[in-house]
Symmetry: C2
Subunit: 395 residues, 2 copies
Amino acid sequence: MSDKVYRASTTAPVNIAVVKYWGKRDAKLNLPTNSSLSVTLSQADLRTLTTASCSASFPASEGDSLLLNGEPSDISGARTQACLRELRSRRAALEAADSSLPKLSTYPLRLVSENNFPTAAGLASSAAGFAALVRAIANLYELPASPSELSLIARQGSGSACRSLFGGYVAWRMGDKADGTDSMADQVAEASHWPDMRALILVVSAAKKGVSSSSGMQQTVATSGLFRERITTVVPENMAIMEKAIAEKDFEKFAEVTMRDSNSFHATCADTYPPIFYMNDVSRAAIRAVEAINEKAGRTVAAYTFDAGPNAVIYYQEKDTEAVVGTFYHVLQGADIGGWKSADIKGLKPTISLDENVAGLLKGGVSRVIMTGVGEGPVKTDEFLVAEDGTPAKR
Amino acid sequence: MSDKVYRASTTAPVNIAVVKYWGKRDAKLNLPTNSSLSVTLSQADLRTLTTASCSASFPASEGDSLLLNGEPSDISGARTQACLRELRSRRAALEAADSSLPKLSTYPLRLVSENNFPTAAGLASSAAGFAALVRAIANLYELPASPSELSLIARQGSGSACRSLFGGYVAWRMGDKADGTDSMADQVAEASHWPDMRALILVVSAAKKGVSSSSGMQQTVATSGLFRERITTVVPENMAIMEKAIAEKDFEKFAEVTMRDSNSFHATCADTYPPIFYMNDVSRAAIRAVEAINEKAGRTVAAYTFDAGPNAVIYYQEKDTEAVVGTFYHVLQGADIGGWKSADIKGLKPTISLDENVAGLLKGGVSRVIMTGVGEGPVKTDEFLVAEDGTPAKR
């Protein structure tokens, strides 16, 4: 029995949906009530790095383990277990077909994962986390699986994780099979197709963590009288318009659907009983600011969208940086917040002055910004978080 | 020609819907996209007093006029004109049939109107205003019209005004005729049927007046993808459950539909493009407070509802005053706000302590309260705002 430690590392990106996933038709398999579409964000700013390792020398009594941002993380949950089981069984099939292969499927897994952004930012890190976990183990096991095939597995860990297996513009097709084998992601367009898509994230501190998206969406499915219309009519229309807008790099259409779909999603949350509110007065001020920016520009240069929290994600094109980022930068200038990239904000002039109330809410409520843009999918890397001897790397 | 000044005075109540009117299928005739149902509130706390007067001695050159809260008010708008025209033509028909009647329909009208509550409270006063105007002129003209018939006229002034022609529990049936002759109000139950229905209004100061309900609802009709489901499915179900709940004095059902329908209405506002937000963080804190009160009570003792503004209206039954009013009174006690009725709050003990964040928002955002309850419809009165000689009474 060899003492060799097998290792594989990958990074995986965060994605922010422009047509939202909200609602499961099968909670166990993470099958959604509707398709969704997202933009993958650059890993230079937001990414998870995961090393998967295994070895016959790892004590079996230890079992599989995950160290996340330096802390042991519970992987006994059904979602993580489903991912590990699927990946192992695929490896076991390869081993059964070729007896020369080492029996990695029988070794305990040591997984170590780190985000390059603060968890406190309240950004959904589970998508990047499960995408990196699945991609890293697939690399370790040398599975001949396409990103779409891996998306089937990542989906079972966290629905939106399936979209983080691709870069650029990514659709998660809901599928209609009961076993979920057709509920997977595909790439609508490469990042290079429309590379000047940028995102400004306004991190808004919530007084209190809201309802988790996993339980929130099921409350919506169960109680919102308006939800059915969203999944049967609104989202299918939004998906079709959005795919065309991306194909044509039509920012006005992209922006309108992005804003309308975010509104529709939060409307179904507000229609849940009891109601779920993720946005607060600061979030709404960000909407008013985007509206003012677009009005001043005389065309749609910015689009807001909100996930299951108060943070605003504002999409814009690089050419409109001054109109969009310039406005927020000048409003927030006095506030002591981090995240501005000096190269990107240098020389930006304020193009409009916002309503006093809107400006005051933003200034008081935005705790940091993240400036990023569309980016690539998971990338294999030689940066390992597990040393050659199998010990987790020092942080 | 006589110099006699004919006068009639009436009061009319405010009503707060528990199934909301939002959306017109005919903007000119004020025909709604859905039926609605409201509770008429006591005129001891909230009412409009209107005196209608006319005289052959009033100069024709002066035309019709309205003095509202001491200020001349424009009545040239199409909605007010529609009401005056309808009332005059009914009077003219009486005069044509009986030549002994004075030709009041040909005299200029002097209308004087006063609210017993501050306009600044942001309470929809147009419902009480139009109901009082129509009822006062109908009295002046001695029209043999039922409240339902008058509701057809008041509806053309302000949709929800048609519900203020009755006391107690009132439905506005949307009707289906193109000319609107079947779109009128009727009484679902007298106030005396369920007299212990109380309302605590938390007046929340808005930083800025939101979109007017009249234009807001038409934006919703035109742009919300979820609105159709509300009017075709959600509201008809809510109307049916609500009528049954009132008939059976089933507060739990009444409360659930009230809260769900308010949520549904504001959800369609949030789904409007661009989105309309009437509620703010203080409004949402009121919702969380009601949820906490109900949870502590182990049954539903309070129900929130919000109109086109941030004020919370909280329905409860008199027996639950301590659980409901006691909680809000003790949270708001330190804040210098008016409206508490000392007799009603005397000895109320705090039953729960609210979440710190919720309490802080309420304390900082509620500017006054109004304690009231279900009440009667318009009442004829001998209190005149126009003197016998035709001059407006001194305020």
